[in-house]
């Protein structure tokens, strides 16, 4: 039996029983047999679960005027939106990672309120539902909107499951009953739901869940809340009279562990009291013990006092808490820490604004301007509202009764002519992302790493006023790394910069390659990237991370060419003591503006970049 798959099925049953209480599930899995299996089981349980098309507009989501019906009948026909239609039920959102921010915001609100106001006003309708969000994002891609993730009770990650997983007979039998075609399934669901009403967690259990959430660095209280609810649902499913440890463990694995931002120390069999304080002294060593490795410090929102908390929790032996922790840790795949770090990193990216990429780009880029008369062609979208608005007052004039009454005109319909057509217009307000690539190698550090940092800080202050995104790549030693994924938070940019040490070789090819990848990624998101390279051009580490000036230069030049062919703008600030021909050579290959700054100071550097950016 595979524990993860077993849990996945329990989650499914819980969602079926109590969609509203659970709020839904964030299901991370690629399109594949595992997910298909899960979804087909869902199909059995709820044959008519509605799907939420990715390109849905707010009108369809919230309900409002049914345009086609209104047009054909000539009378206003209102229509319930998908949300109101899914009241007391589940709603399936495939490709949730590409969901338009507008739709995600509406969904988040509805999950909170359970009410929906139709487009254009009107009475609010009940929309208490559970959302099944299917997220197919790969490791390095931005995943579903964070505020939506937060609201969904269950978080399930099936990315690491193989295809032929088995589950316990208990849950399979249960699903069988719940999915049976006759009325038995309905009654069973009702009984479970009734049982759920009477089930409560006792104080000790609630305390255990809360403590565990805190130990895992889960700041939000929605996680433990969902966990409390899920534990009751699971107990009800098992026909148990009370919530037991097995329910708590399962609920913790589905609601808490995936939300963890730090790993609590696993309960040790015979923990000597001196052990907890020891690990903090160790990290400077080459290999810190895995349980002590928090997510990268910059990305760590939970308050710092978490650390002293967990040891304290270890000292008084708390059976329930420890049991829970053990149960939760059992579900962790081995590479969870690496994953933890990567999820945090990906989540930060984009700030939630340009998630849906190209859809959004073509659909609504920039701020809307009033629609203007024109035909919907060459990508321009018809502005229905304006078109109808233009046609509406002219209906009487165009009424055929003035001339002749034909058989067709008996059915009243709106008379729209080409002259009525209006199209959408948007003011292009492209967002820009400044990528700073900073050479922190020994040669640069010697000369003016500090100055470069100062210049970048000044530039950051300027980009703040323009509300640009910034992104910092540092390179030294054997490779380049993204110190800060694109963000608008300048405090974080500054922090990442301050933490950049100097010394080591100059892996310039890798830096250009990384910058190029970042830039292309940003461009796909509809952001215009530009690069500020601060480097002395003395490349001496190749892509493989080995030394060798000749090869490093060769690779730098070829990546520089790649940069130029993409037509991306860049500025090269030569940070060496006197102008370096090699830097100029690479800058030329990149098509960048080369700025030697033999007597640079931060102010001056910033001025140059600012002038060039204009």
């Amino acid at each position: 039996m595979n524990l993860a798959w077993d849990d996945a099925l329990w989650a499914l049953a819980a969602l079926h029983i109590d969609p509203v209480g659970m709020r839904g599930i964030w299901l991370r899995a690629p399109h594949g047999p595992v997910r298909d299996e899960w979804l087909s089981l869902l199909q059995h349980l709820r044959p008519n679960v509605r799907r939420l098309p990715n390109n849905i507009d707010s009108e369809r989501l919230l309900g409002g005027l049914d345009l086609s019906a209104t047009l054909s009948t000539g009378k206003p026909v209102t229509q319930a939106g998908l949300l109101a239609q899914s009241d007391q039920s589940l709603l399936l959102a495939p490709m949730a990672e590409r969901m338009a921010p507008e739709a995600a915001a509406i969904l988040g609100q509805v999950l909170d309120n359970g009410r929906v106001t139709p487009h254009g006003g009107g009475d609010t309708q009940d929309a208490r539902l559970g959302l099944i969000a299917l997220d197919e994002a790969l490791e390095d891609e931005p995943c579903m909107s964070e505020s939506l993730q937060e609201r969904l009770g269950i978080w399930l990650d099936l990315r690491h499951l193989g295809r032929q997983e088995t589950a316990s007979d208990e849950i399979l039998g249960l699903l069988g009953v719940l999915a049976s075609p006759d009325e038995a399934a309905d009654t069973e669901r009702q009984t479970v739901f009734e049982r759920l009403r009477t089930l409560r967690l006792n104080d000790e259990q609630i305390q255990a869940i809360t403590q565990m959430a805190q130990a895992m660095g889960i700041a939000s209280l929605r996680g433990p809340l969902a966990c409390v609810r899920l534990a009751c649902v699971l107990a009800a499913l098992r026909e148990s009279a009370a919530v037991e440890d097995v329910d708590l463990g399962r609920a913790a694995r589905l609601c808490l562990t995936p939300r963890a931002t730090q790993m609590p120390a696993p309960p040790e069999q015979e923990a000597p009291p001196e052990q907890p304080p020891e690990p903090p002294a160790e990290p400077p060593d080459d290999e810190p013990p895995p349980e002590d490795e928090p997510a990268p410090p910059d990305n760590e929102p939970p308050p710092p006092e978490q650390a002293p908390d967990s040891p304290e929790e270890d000292t008084p032996p708390q059976d329930l808490g420890e049991m829970l922790l053990e149960a939760a840790l059992a579900s962790l795949p081995p590479d969870v820490l690496a994953q933890l770090a990567s999820t945090r990193a990906t989540q930060i990216r984009g700030g939630g604004q340009s998630r849906s990429g190209e859809v959004r780009q073509s659909r609504s880029r920039g701020s809307p301007l009033p629609p203007r008369p024109g035909l919907p062609r060459q990508g321009a979208r018809l502005h229905v509202l304006a078109t109808l608005g233009h046609a509406a007052p002219r209906q009487k004039l165009r009424s055929p009764s003035a001339f002749a009454v034909s058989a067709q005109s008996l059915t009243p319909r709106l008379r729209i002519r080409a002259e009525d057509f209006h199209v959408h217009r948007y003011a292009e307000r492209t967002q820009t992302c400044l990528i700073f690539a900073i050479d922190a190698s020994g040669s640069a550090a010697l000369h003016r790493l500090a100055e470069a940092k100062g210049a970048v800080e000044l530039l950051l202050a300027q980009s703040y006023s323009r509300r640009d995104q910034v992104c910092v790549v540092g390179f030294r030693g054997s490779q380049a790394e993204v110190l800060l994924p694109p963000t608008k938070s300048l405090v974080r940019a500054k922090r990442s910069l301050a933490g950049l040490p100097g010394g080591g070789g100059t892996p310039l090819p890798h830096a250009i390659k990384l910058a190029l990848e970042l830039a292309l990624q940003q461009r796909r998101l509809g952001v215009s990237p530009s690069l500020v390279m601060l480097c002395d051009g003395r490349a001496n580490v190749s892509l493989q991370g080995s030394g060798g000036r000749a090869q490093a230069l060769q690779e730098s030049l070829s990546w520089a060419n790649a940069w130029r062919t993409q037509g991306l703008p860049s500025i090269w600030i030569d940070t060496s003591a006197r102008p370096e021909p090699q830097a100029e050579q690479i800058a030329l290959a990149m098509g960048s503006r080369y700025v030697p700054l033999p007597q640079a100071n931060s102010q001056r550097m910033a001025q140059v970049v600012q002038a060039a950016a204009r």
């Binding site: 209480g21 707010s58 345009l67 209104t70 000539g74 009378k75 206003p76 338009a100 921010p101 507008e102 739709a103 915001a105 509406i106 988040g108 609100q109 909170d112 009410r115 487009h119 254009g120 006003g121 505020s147 937060e150 009403r197 104080d203 609630i206 809360t210 700041a219 939000s220 209280l221 929605r222 996680g223 433990p224 409390v228 609810r229 929102p301 308050p303 006092e305 700030g351 939630g352 604004q353 701020s367 809307p368 629609p371 509202l385 304006a386 109808l388 608005g389 233009h390 509406a392 007052p393 002219r394 307000r429 950051l460 202050a461 509300r467 608008k488 938070s489 300048l490 405090v491 500054k494």
Partner: protein, 342 residues
Amino acid sequence: MAIPFPFSAIVGQDEMKLAIQIVAIDPKVGGILALGDRGTGKSTAVRALADLLPPLQVVVGCSYGCDPASSAATCTDCASLKATGKRPKTATRPVPVVDLPLGASEDRVVGALDLEKALSQGIKAFSPGLLAQANRGFLYIDEVNLLEDHLVDLLIDVAASGENVVEREGLSVRHPARFVLVGSGNPEEGELRPQLLDRFGLSVEVRTPQDIDQRIAVIKRRDAFERDPQGFRDEWALQNQGLREHILKARKLLDKVKVGDDLLRLCAQLCQALGTDGLRAELTLMRACRSLAAMQGHKAATPTHLRAVAPMALRHRLRRNPLDDTGSGTRVERALTEVLGA
């Protein structure tokens, strides 16, 4: 309306609750900006706000919920009602707390052409948007820092003028839109423009309670609420009622509260020491002091009140160096000690 979580059942969050009460007593203090991580109960507190406020008298048939008592605020609806010569009917309804969803279209926010009327009768009519709904109430924006720029611009303008002017799609409408702006967000995810920041009267920093017992209490109450919202509300109805009466009493007292010149001088000194631009900070400080004094049943505002409200009123107004990450809270504290003495 969905049943909101009762205000009096909110655990912890003292600063947030204080700010909400201050604004409930005197909406002129301005809006509230609540900053903090997700899942800390910011939106719960905001949505519970209606609990504190006495219901409004509105003109029946007016889309903007105008006050029947005031003759000055006339919207087009009231004007046409008046033209019929009949006395407008009035009704009571709870103070609106309107959610502005992130990513709302401009149509929904400002209002648009009424399709129904356009299609069925061929009439060009205005269908009011969220700004109209929020008139005389509160406009709540979750994740305000992720709001699209063009919406921010729009809100800044309306919040300042108290009037929504629609000139689009061939419509030409202006209607009252006086609302208190309440925003919440996580500053780690993006920063707010100073102009928008300035529109908020008070700002509070919300954290999850770190105390385990408090967290447990939150979870228990929330769970009880989700199981039986109405029952839970009934349980807390008495406390809510008490709170509401308290607010009403404070509102009556508000005009009688004296704010002496000494205190105004202190306000000005404080603002000067912190280098806040404009007089808005001083005004907010003064109003918040008065409101707090009224809340506590005092006849005059004192430096103690000032000390209590200053961080909320000033924190977000400091001219900020985007790269300076020392908390603005500490800067306010420092200035307070300087001006008021230890």
